[in-house]
Symmetry: D3
Subunit: 273 residues, 6 copies
Amino acid sequence: MFFHVKELQFEAKPERPDPVFAKKLQELIGGQYGEMTVAMQYMFQGWATRGNEKYRDLLLDIGTEEIGHVEMLATMVARLMDDAPVNQQEEAAKDPVVGAIMGGMNPQHAIVSGLGARPTDSVGNPWMGTYITASGNLLADFRSNLNAESQGRLQAARLYEMTDDKGIKDLLSVLIARDAYHQNQWAAAIAELEEKEGLLVPSTFPREKERTDISYTLYNLSAGEESSTGRWAQGPALDGQGEYKYVSNPKPEGDKPMLKPAPPNLHNTLPMD
Amino acid sequence: MFFHVKELQFEAKPERPDPVFAKKLQELIGGQYGEMTVAMQYMFQGWATRGNEKYRDLLLDIGTEEIGHVEMLATMVARLMDDAPVNQQEEAAKDPVVGAIMGGMNPQHAIVSGLGARPTDSVGNPWMGTYITASGNLLADFRSNLNAESQGRLQAARLYEMTDDKGIKDLLSVLIARDAYHQNQWAAAIAELEEKEGLLVPSTFPREKERTDISYTLYNLSAGEESSTGRWAQGPALDGQGEYKYVSNPKPEGDKPMLKPAPPNLHNTLPMD
Amino acid sequence: MFFHVKELQFEAKPERPDPVFAKKLQELIGGQYGEMTVAMQYMFQGWATRGNEKYRDLLLDIGTEEIGHVEMLATMVARLMDDAPVNQQEEAAKDPVVGAIMGGMNPQHAIVSGLGARPTDSVGNPWMGTYITASGNLLADFRSNLNAESQGRLQAARLYEMTDDKGIKDLLSVLIARDAYHQNQWAAAIAELEEKEGLLVPSTFPREKERTDISYTLYNLSAGEESSTGRWAQGPALDGQGEYKYVSNPKPEGDKPMLKPAPPNLHNTLPMD
Amino acid sequence: MFFHVKELQFEAKPERPDPVFAKKLQELIGGQYGEMTVAMQYMFQGWATRGNEKYRDLLLDIGTEEIGHVEMLATMVARLMDDAPVNQQEEAAKDPVVGAIMGGMNPQHAIVSGLGARPTDSVGNPWMGTYITASGNLLADFRSNLNAESQGRLQAARLYEMTDDKGIKDLLSVLIARDAYHQNQWAAAIAELEEKEGLLVPSTFPREKERTDISYTLYNLSAGEESSTGRWAQGPALDGQGEYKYVSNPKPEGDKPMLKPAPPNLHNTLPMD
Amino acid sequence: MFFHVKELQFEAKPERPDPVFAKKLQELIGGQYGEMTVAMQYMFQGWATRGNEKYRDLLLDIGTEEIGHVEMLATMVARLMDDAPVNQQEEAAKDPVVGAIMGGMNPQHAIVSGLGARPTDSVGNPWMGTYITASGNLLADFRSNLNAESQGRLQAARLYEMTDDKGIKDLLSVLIARDAYHQNQWAAAIAELEEKEGLLVPSTFPREKERTDISYTLYNLSAGEESSTGRWAQGPALDGQGEYKYVSNPKPEGDKPMLKPAPPNLHNTLPMD
Amino acid sequence: MFFHVKELQFEAKPERPDPVFAKKLQELIGGQYGEMTVAMQYMFQGWATRGNEKYRDLLLDIGTEEIGHVEMLATMVARLMDDAPVNQQEEAAKDPVVGAIMGGMNPQHAIVSGLGARPTDSVGNPWMGTYITASGNLLADFRSNLNAESQGRLQAARLYEMTDDKGIKDLLSVLIARDAYHQNQWAAAIAELEEKEGLLVPSTFPREKERTDISYTLYNLSAGEESSTGRWAQGPALDGQGEYKYVSNPKPEGDKPMLKPAPPNLHNTLPMD
């Protein structure tokens, strides 16, 4: 069960209108690694956690925080369009600067949402449920989370460099700091789990059931051997259970597949060989 | 530039028809973490790598391998439908087992692809470009890769437990082994980069530009303090640059947002307060 | 800014496992009119409300409630899969009932989410940002909300009829009651706004700019005149500004369009007439 | 069965080329509330109407009209690109106005459709079947229809304000008038049904099966009590069957959910508590 | 402008309920090559045809026919669910045949559409605007049309084999016949255009601007030379302008790409070589 | 099984930065008819070919070539953004040319991919599995392939006309030549199959099962008889098995559909007639 307070967790006020930046900022709202993604991802992971209340609590702490991030960004987007000449066509025709502003903004910000934020990314793709990951395996999912916070902080940092509006930079400096904590925090949770379970996900699958003769092998399938110089190509494996191998000239082990004809009532092309 | 040999890298022959399992196996072909995803993800990452030939080569080695995994799975799916009663309606009506088989299979395997694999997941969603990640920041992307291999091995292990067909198990034991290597390998690449760059992505963003007073803080936004007992809530942070803090009763720092009215020519609802 | 308490607003415990019903219940989580939709829709509407604090508050009250509905349903879905034979293939092969259960469930509940709810509908389509509506015009949006609660209650009622599990029925009886309130509540908000603004959205667009000679006309474009007997075909219009008209044999007013050839550098087919 | 006449129902001729406006106008063709949506929505509703020939006829009258609206808009979009410098790169490089025009247009209008309209919205998202609603419950669906005509007229009015081309304004003034009629008409159909069935959808679900103690309650889940002043928070409910209640400090009624561990062969994280 | 008559062009009455077949039949309504696709494809092509009234008329003749095909199929789907036990849970629990029927049907046919057809394919994916093709080049588009009618007839033929219901077979025998005509008809239109323009699309692009030294070459990139025995590997090319060539051991002509580092403010990984 | 060489098959070096053209060029990478589509389409067709090794080999030859085309285009896109002012906001504000460049580029090229190519089309829609066709019927699929190469060459030719950068033109001249060969080559494969099987897909469906009385009929459903003058309206049909007929005033053969009421537990609107 959730509660809301009306105040924003952090301030979200730009210095001046900038509808073109509003379009770009949508990436952090409804993009693949935007705040809708992390909010939903952490909540779905938390709701499905079976035992392990410490992790469940952590997931819901942060998932709940991230809805507040969507709120701050949605507020910022709405304010970036205050007082912008979004549909004053005569002026736009005369003044190339006004025209450029209108040309570079997201047309749906005017036509569809009436200057409100959209549940989409910076080019207008709608947010999708396929952006989130929740597998029931916490080590796998925390790796997904660490990746999401890494991609998210990277995007926020790039956007920070694209504006000199102090109000936007202030909000982004908050988001960048939170993404730094969340990287630090998922990394700590991963370290805790790896200590118990080891490196491989899932840790409970018996190794003897996999083809262990090829579990430590790098196949050189891209001509040139630069990749052979990495730590992943020789020496003990990070999981402590094997030795990396490098195969410079891999060969197929299987046969050339020959498929049987389909039954006639499917009307596939019949074999003519 | 790519070349193909007709032999499969590993064998892909089931013992008997199983169109219901063919439906499930589609998850590993065209699902969010299927082989199409890792093939495309590693290639797009590789093609965009600027300098760092060792990593570029590695990405293209493995991306090229993964196209071959799609090939093996597509072959397996096609063979799982050989000799299956996919559209013999009279028998199905009489024999509940035949009926159940036909009911549980993916209808597009008969109607659309004529017993061939589909570029979709196990419920029929088409593969999408949004499944892949390629940011130009290798540490971020290798974390995405480690996650993908973790989710992928987890799914393959679950599928392994769902069948007793030795031919399917043989192929899955190969994929599980390869996913084990790829976890080991991306973990090694991550370790190499973290040694140089530290934990935080992006490492090049100046810390003083972020709100560092909140860069190590866990906000307790989900009532109950179980999460405060984790390694992420006190002590030195994993990045070696701060101390974790726990705020058990977080307060908003921002104001309640009051938005200006929209210009009249947008025909939004006017303020009535 | 949001807070979470760990207790569910209402209980969500089924009497017994039912993975097939879990699949169906997904419609209320991630379907077009599921709880993710209303949660996101009301919050995006609220965050974009300009003035009109009464409505903003209402939207955030209910939007916040709806996230808790997703939580209850996600919990129910997870519990419906407890103790279900989701991947015990030997028993399934022998026992047709077990086989039927496994055949009718969503394969991603086992392979992908490890018995957790998915951000998808009952056939597996991912939730999409395009499911929500937020236009900045409250009367328009409240009509969208009234529709959403009508479709939602209809779907919940249908699902209520499809089970005799008391635990599921208890949760659905809560959701059906809340959808009843929300219909009552959006209807009241609509009545309030229509009293001020009249029937037509947007109320601020000057009527003289539209083709008012056709603003009250029903064109009979589907042979047969059954539709002419409705209240929309004669008498004073509901907006109090015109008289309904019925045109039983409508004629085109425009010309047959003749398009100019495209410029040669687009390589369209050239006119041959 | 359908017939077509070549003349447009209304004229669709712009005064001058404007490929940037063509991009925006796509919202009314293939957007969430564009004419493809209402055409398909009304026809799918009509084809599924069981009995109630008056409503079936009405739905097919209007659905058929809306295909003609797509036709007029598609013609307008094609003409807005006549004589526009869509790929004359030398001039564009020299003349910033030409460059701006080309920069602001939808690149697929040149590359993909050769100056024809696209089945997409104003940012290029393809039209989707999920935009439409057809539930078999006419009261629910007519509310969806009233919403669609409200959003549609709002968008058309916003576009009307964004141009001073008389030809475009003429077409939009037709569409705005038709959307006015359709609001008036669905409102009348709704009034007719509500008179018979009452306010709540579905009217046939027995009230005693829902949790009627909470069927009239507003939960104050967003701190601040502005919403308590509305008509939906006290007094007799609009459905005439209850009294609105306001709960200013709602408490959870359910328990904190504790999920059972997943079976081992799913390889979820095991409980460590 | 369009008109509708209430009678179906052809009859659409099944002999008995079959909700499982209703699910499959959706492929012909809202699948990639369903009737919604051809209806929309031919109309968008027709509306964008510039000159060439013969082809424009043909496109609109057939596009208009195809909407009527959607109508017949939607009617059939609705009737296939008449009298089916779609949500009688007690009986289903007792009777495995009833259970199987309910398990194999599309749950949205009951929960969402109330026994009406859905704008989706046989696994529930929504119809999408990306299914259609309209390029402004008629020869290209007629090839797309010939393909659509070929895939469509193939799917209808497969479905014909999957039922012994005479009513369904009657409707499918109509659709199969119409798809036969449409193949014959687009093939004739293609022949007409190829006679004027030659084989290559677009015919107006000057051949000397392409790399004509490789315009007739088959590269053997998949080991094994079976493909060299085809008509496409030697002798005069079908376009009458060149000789087919076979290169059995192709070599790259380009360099190994070395990309420049990204500017620092993008925070990509810096080159470490 | 696949191998990769690091050299590009053909060179991919632009003369100068052009991030706006990079955005447009995405159409050829991840658009409906981009190189990802043909690569995946030919490989899925090849992997599902049953017998007919000549065609399987051909499909894999060309599918393998097309992955290399994605590689060249991805390299070109990356290089088109080298040295472009992608996020230098101060200069952009001052210099309208810089501003225009930044405004016209794809914001995700900076924010998301760090100057790398994206798996999307020119407006940012992600590539989708639904773009590909693989039916198991080779004649049907080769028609799809001929269409894909026609649309692809058309788009490449249009892009060729939109730039005067010699490096881009060089790459496009290669792609245009390859698309010319592939049209020539699929046309030859089609001719071979049509010679054996005749014109109609599928050739194996017995003609007597279709409604042959309407297998050669053009219905004039769009007023005006321009279409009656084509080769498809009279004379012997192309398949050599019938005579084209033209019906200038088609009538419905079916009845007006009357659907039964839905069962009460679905809560549809009850018949009021």
